[in-house]
Symmetry: C2
Subunit: 427 residues, 2 copies
Amino acid sequence: MEMQKYSELSKAEQRSEYDALLAQYNKYKEQNLKLDISRGKPNSDQLDISLPLLSEARPREKCFSENGVDCRNYGVLDGIPEMKRLFADMLGIKEEYIAVGGNSSLQLMYDTISRALLFGVLGSERPWIKEDARKWICVTPGYDRHFKMTELFGFELLSVKMTPTGPDMDEVERLVKDPTVKGMWCVPKYSNPTGNTYSDETVRRLAKMECGAPDFRIIWDNAYAVHDLGEEGDELLDIFTEAEKYGNLDRIFYFTSTSKITFPGAGVAMMAASPANLKQISQFLGVQTIGYDKLNQLRHTAYFADKEAVHEHMMTLARFIGKKFEITLNSLSALEGLGIAEWTSPRGGYFVSLDVMPGTAKRVYTLMKDAGVTLTEVGATFPYGIDPEDKNLRIAPTYPSDTDLAVATEILVVAVKLAALEKLLAK
Amino acid sequence: MEMQKYSELSKAEQRSEYDALLAQYNKYKEQNLKLDISRGKPNSDQLDISLPLLSEARPREKCFSENGVDCRNYGVLDGIPEMKRLFADMLGIKEEYIAVGGNSSLQLMYDTISRALLFGVLGSERPWIKEDARKWICVTPGYDRHFKMTELFGFELLSVKMTPTGPDMDEVERLVKDPTVKGMWCVPKYSNPTGNTYSDETVRRLAKMECGAPDFRIIWDNAYAVHDLGEEGDELLDIFTEAEKYGNLDRIFYFTSTSKITFPGAGVAMMAASPANLKQISQFLGVQTIGYDKLNQLRHTAYFADKEAVHEHMMTLARFIGKKFEITLNSLSALEGLGIAEWTSPRGGYFVSLDVMPGTAKRVYTLMKDAGVTLTEVGATFPYGIDPEDKNLRIAPTYPSDTDLAVATEILVVAVKLAALEKLLAK
């Protein structure tokens, strides 16, 4: 049956639909549910898939890297060779660009920007903290933790809209002419939360664009680099290759981790950058730490021989996660044709981005909360936590069980409809 | 036989002694040795003692903390309860003071000072970076990595001499009256490299002293808290208890790690501070990271039930490390009575501090280097890498095998004598 748009219904029809939905909503409410679709976090069943990493005892002879380093001991600031090779292979970038870190790429990004503030980066005239004004580009909707970090560090956050091919590049090119704009957050593949991947042209324009600041940096958070939901994943152009063509290799600070490949709390993170950038950073890194956990690097390289092994593992995860997306999209399909919502069907990553009727996202959040379902806070996907249109909701389907997720997303559909009707009826 | 002081020998006797030593030295040189007594680093045989930590497979049911957190997943910024309890038990401090970190306490100290620079600490009038002048107290000889860190962060380093009971407290009390003095490095037990422990009076005076800066901080790096070489270890007064008595609880930033209990590269580090300090820090920590590796915390708490288990383990290590100190002190005894050297016989820690004839430490370093033995660089134990008297050498006996250590320290004795005689003969 073809659905009729809510806005085209008569007031009486809207009222009757509203009453029916409210009855449905109240039934859910009576169940005293406690569900959470707020964070892009695997659940314990998904994590079991990576248990083979922890299944082996490690006698002395298994504690050495291929070049003979005792991984139990101090030393090796930038990672053991086999871990660098695995990342290089997985990401299609050069081994010499890679510096392996601890368990958190977010921590590496924080360190990187905090170092830039205190000491500057290659090409800086002074430490960033000494700049009177400093600004940062945020693609919206985007990743809340990114935005909070640059806010904490005192950058003025500039919003640029996400389009199906990536950030609105005309706007980005215009903004970066300002020499006080020091950097930009990018999640180029299966972007958080929209799930789209930057087009080749977008990557090229980012690599090529003329920046006012000589020390402008793109934080290329390729968190979902290999996180396809099926054999046919999105293809992302290699930004290093492009940046090198235009003489802008030093512009790129590239990050990823195995957090959503193996264990979110006990994976391996990395930063990749030009050899010149890495050299500039190394003078500080040697003072900062005695080296990251190399035994955990060994656990990963013992389990993943090469990128094919990673791919096989990701396809096992995809069957598990794909089910979650299917359940979510299946629930959301009840909103089709009503003219009150749009959403994404990503081919990878961890999120579905749902745009509801403008001015109703907060109301949906409250309705959900009252029914016992936690959503990502409205506005979180925008700088300063403010969604100017009050319409974007980020759905993170991976944490609940399939059954709980089905219930949570069914309630979500009811809440989206209710909020829209409330607004229409109030007119 | 009673040795005669070198300075009391006739020139001819000095010359003859020199010639005999030179012949001995040249024989060592011919062996093309490659030995290293430069870093306080366990060797692989010592690390084998902690292998039981890695000997168990970890099925799903062993991945949860006692309060039900899946340690493979994101979350828990300040550590799982059993790890906090273990540190509290080991150190005799309150659990609620503890925030567990990653594998490196040095990284936690770097983070702490870098945060203070960017945001200030509790009681700061402004971020430390905005202070026109900032100074830091360094007890000398001391830990090279500490000094380098505050140098990198742009502090003016103020030297205070180590005495047998800890830093020269009269001098410390005088210096901290200056409001631009923001902090002080302390390794209060088995200090690096002198091996002595702060007396109760020293701890009390540090806790009590009047500081010009309202946000003055003591970095209490209790790296060798349980690292006794025998059942009779040094006792260190609890600084938190003392600081609280005088209303200065917030003055203390306390650090330690299991690096030299289990694995230097894969241990667990922690910071301890007053609840008010931890609260101030937590607002930044949540932006900085998604949490440290909790599986590694579980590995440690599974192996160490309580402080008695840690103590038993440390006594096993002590038998291993004690042998290294014995060999070193046995070699050094050949310097007794010559009036050209003094050294420490610590009851714990990782170092022997050797003071040679003033003005000859660099020469000893070069002689050793030419004979294939790496010593800690001369001056490293002083701010800016400059030993004003050119006399202190830090001996780190743990890394070489017993045989290699015996050879290295025998050559050291020859080199110390040679350098002293060169100086005396040149007069």
